[in-house]
């Protein structure tokens, strides 16, 4: 009986893996700010560097 139960569990689990594995993860999983960033290049829009013309900063002593 044990053998049958565990065999069915193994086959059903493999079926779930092959079906579910090909489905994209939910947006709750993918659209997070705290995801692991393995390959870099993420959140470029949230970069600390402000793109654009650089501006000269006057030293107060010059005045």
């Amino acid at each position: 009986m044990n053998t049958i139960i565990f065999s069915v569990l193994a086959i059903f689990s493999l079926y779930v893996f092959f079906k579910l594995g090909k489905v994209k993860a939910s947006s709750k999983q993918l659209n997070r700010n705290n995801r692991i960033n393995r390959f870099g290049n993420r959140n470029n829009d949230e970069s600390n560097i402000i793109e654009g013309e650089s501006e000269e900063v006057k030293d107060e002593n010059d005045n």
């Binding site: 193994a10 689990s13 579910l20 999983q29 995801r35 960033n37 390959f39 290049n41």
Partner: protein, 249 residues
Amino acid sequence: MSKHSALNRFGRSSNPAFTRGFQDNVGSLPLSERMTLDGAVNKTGILLSLCFGGAFIGWNIPALAVPGAIIGFILAMVTIFRSKEKAGSTAPLYALAQGIFLGGITLMYENAFDGIAIQAIGLTFGILASLLLCYKSGYIKPTENFRLMIVAGIGGILILYLASFVMSFFGGGLSLLSPTNGSLMSIGLSFGIVCFASLSLVLDFDFIEEGAEKGLPKYMEWYGAFSLMITLIWLYLEILRLLAKMRSR
């Protein structure tokens, strides 16, 4: 002086340690040459089939188990540290070699504890499916802290295994790791190791998901499937050990 003078003068860093290797390729490949979820899952299926084929050989010829383990270990090291690009040829050989090893060791456990193999197989795939469901639904969210916790735990387990291996040359290894040790402490340790191995699967799922999302090169499908196989084989061995300990009580 410019606010971003260093950036203006030297430009963005091209240090490989910062670019992390794949950044140049990410998203720049044609669609047919990019990693996909389908491809990674299909390749995992191929590796699992080869592993089962190898296990059939190992079960019938247990003497091949040790050579299988050694060859599998070498192939894993080559794939991880030398050539991810060649994972398409090394990963199937790894799965076959490890399958032979698993077949031999499973026979050994089965002779000592009747019916243990099918229980371990059922539990391994059960954990795989349930964690995949938790990951896909967003119930378990792998973060940098999550990864740190798993890596630190695996490091600790590795040190424990190494200590036991070294001690085995001087009489006997750690009795806590022995499959015939049915003490609560030993079972608790094995249970903890099974938990770490299970949670490592989540990191593998996330790696494959992110790789497909970023459009990594096609060979990374094999690499993703290979990393999933390593974790599954480790999980299976730990479940076998845990069940043997529980039966020894």
